[in-house]
């Protein structure tokens, strides 16, 4: 027996009706690894943390992040980073400066070539991390030290994320047309529905008829 639905398209799926064996456990990566997405709402504001996506690779992560986080509201730029490539400091209490409680030590020997790192600060618990700038360093530790020197006076700072710039997939200038039509989709805005006008008209027309 197959399942009959009110929706003919569901009926056409020929879903089995009645008892079915439980679905087997899925491997942990059935729906891919995680990426973190950052969006920039307008040119004058920094990139801010939008949220995670699950994707099989960076390009698909970018596509998913674009759909998930920049579909409904203005956006001019989008970044995605594989979660494991983000170094996270401990969280401080609200109002504190996390750099003050960290023991940040630059490594003694500089074996690697210097490269750029992106620095993100969280100002208050429950809010989103925002991009504060870029430093050049040879390691995450040194990048954190540099970040403290350059941006450490912007307290409160409750948490810091450090990412190698090369690990950030950034939208290009040419990509901006992706968001060109967002404001045209008025049917997704509450303001497009003039409900009160219709109700007022209805009440006006029916004020003499009992409900």
């Amino acid at each position: 027996m197959s399942l009959k639905s009110l929706d003919p398209r569901v009926t056409r799926l020929h879903l089995p009706d009645g008892e079915v064996p439980p679905m087997e456990e899925k491997p942990a990566l059935d729906q891919f690894e995680t990426y973190e997405a950052f969006h920039q709402k307008k040119e004058s504001t920094p990139h801010a943390y939008a949220g995670p996506v699950h994707a099989p690779n960076e390009d698909v992560a970018f596509l998913f992040a674009k759909e998930q986080y920049s579909r409904r509201f203005p956006c001019v730029s989008l970044w995605v980073v594989r979660t494991e490539n983000i170094q996270v400091t401990p969280y401080a209490n609200d109002g504190e400066n996390v750099y003050d409680i960290l023991r940040v030590e630059a490594p003694a020997t500089q074996s690697e070539q210097p490269e750029p790192y992106e620095i993100f600060h969280l100002k208050k618990r429950g809010k989103a991390h925002t991009h504060v700038g870029r430093v050049v360093a040879t390691s995450y530790q040194e990048a954190l030290q540099e970040a403290k020197n350059q941006f450490g006076d912007k307290a409160p700072i409750v948490n810091v994320w450090v990412v190698k710039s090369k690990d950030v997939l950034q939208s290009a200038e040419d990509d901006k047309d992706m968001w060109a039509t967002t404001p045209d989709k008025k049917y997704r805005e509450a303001i497009a529905y003039k409900v009160m006008d219709k109700i007022t008209k209805y009440k006006e027309e029916n004020k003499n008829t009992p409900a």
């Binding site: 079915v20 990566l29 698909v60 979660t83 429950g126 997704r188 109700i199 209805y202």
Partner: protein, 328 residues
């Protein structure tokens, strides 16, 4: 948007005696100061378990809740309504993704949550076990179920867990349109031809009983509930949410000349509280445990999507990838 009717059951983690008293005091002090908890903070087992359960059920409700409205996309009258209905359904599925990620930060993988949904181990909002017979049913869902969900979500957004609050903030921003869209669609039918009015009244009659159960049965005021309220996991009692919903929406139903199918529904002028016929909680229990008109279909559709899409996921899978929890 569909996070209604959480029933908080006691768990074996209720016993806070086993928690480290110093850490527990620090945790409670943080919440009392109005600070949010972030994923790497120490937290009691009870807090973690209840939040996973609550956020996971909320996520499932979004993904299953998209089904009754989703089936109406192809039959929505007119191109504009199809576009709007599609945008709304897309939002709901997106909300599920946001919520699954928020729950993942607490340590349960998305794969495990989806498996538990399909195997009937974890629940979703009971109202979606009822069918949407007509286009008007879909409109009543868009308006009144979303309205109920917004009452709930606005409260929960003020809760203590950072990732859940962040997700809800985005969800509430996207939902503003759903409510207006649903209201507009109902108003269109209610102010239309006699046939249209009859259709929307019939849909309201069908959906009223499930809507009244949406916020769940009255809370048993136990130390358990008291603890969860102090920790800002549960932000308002089920009855308070139901009262707030009735206060906001019954007048909007009445002003359209529609009737609510409950002869006992009235606002007590002295207490300021709504009085109503107690919903049928036996039916609620029966349906939530699997015996509703659409339980089997909802899970079968979800399972089929999971199974028939497996080859695509496997083809895309990077064999070297390793699982890392989302950060925030």
């Amino acid at each position: 948007m569909y996070g209604g009717g959480n029933v908080f059951e006691a768990t074996k983690f209720d016993d806070l005696q086993t928690e480290d008293p110093a850490k527990l005091a620090e945790f409670e002090a943080r919440i009392a100061r109005g600070e949010k908890i972030e994923p790497t903070d120490w937290m009691p087992q009870l807090y973690r378990k209840q939040l996973i359960r609550m956020i996971e059920q909320h996520a499932h409700s979004e993904i299953i809740g998209a089904l009754p409205e989703g089936t109406w996309i192809t039959r929505a009258p007119g191109f504009r309504r199809k576009m709007a209905q599609m945008a709304k359904v897309q939002d709901e599925v997106g909300h599920a993704q946001l919520l699954y990620s928020a729950a993942e930060t607490l340590g349960k993988s998305r794969e495990q949550m989806l498996t538990d949904l399909i195997n009937g181990k974890s629940k979703y909002s009971n109202v979606f076990n009822y069918p949407a017979f007509t286009w008007a049913d879909s409109n009543i869902i868009s308006w009144l179920i979303d309205a109920g969900a917004i009452v709930n979500q606005m409260a929960n957004a003020k809760g203590s867990y950072g990732p859940y609050s962040r997700a809800l903030e985005r969800i509430c921003a996207e939902e503003a349109f759903h409510l207006k869209y649903g209201h507009d669609a109902v108003v269109h039918l209610a102010t239309g031809t006699p046939k249209q009015r009859e259709m929307v009244q019939a849909a309201l009659n069908r959906w009223w009983p499930p809507i009244m159960t949406f916020f769940g049965p009255s809370d048993k005021m136990s130390t358990h509930t008291e603890t969860l309220m102090r920790w800002k996991v549960k932000m308002a009692s089920n009855d308070d949410c139901r009262q707030q919903f009735l206060d906001m929406y019954v007048p909007k139903i009445w002003e359209l000349g529609l009737t609510v199918p409950d002869p006992n529904l009235k606002k007590n002028a002295e207490t300021g509280q709504w009085e109503y016929t107690e919903p049928d909680w036996d039916e609620f229990k029966r349906v939530i445990n699997g015996d509703g008109p659409c339980n089997a279909e909802r899970l079968a559709v979800r399972r089929t999507a999971e199974e028939r899409g497996a080859w695509v996921r496997h083809a895309l899978l990077n064999p070297k990838a390793k699982y890392v929890r989302p950060l925030a």
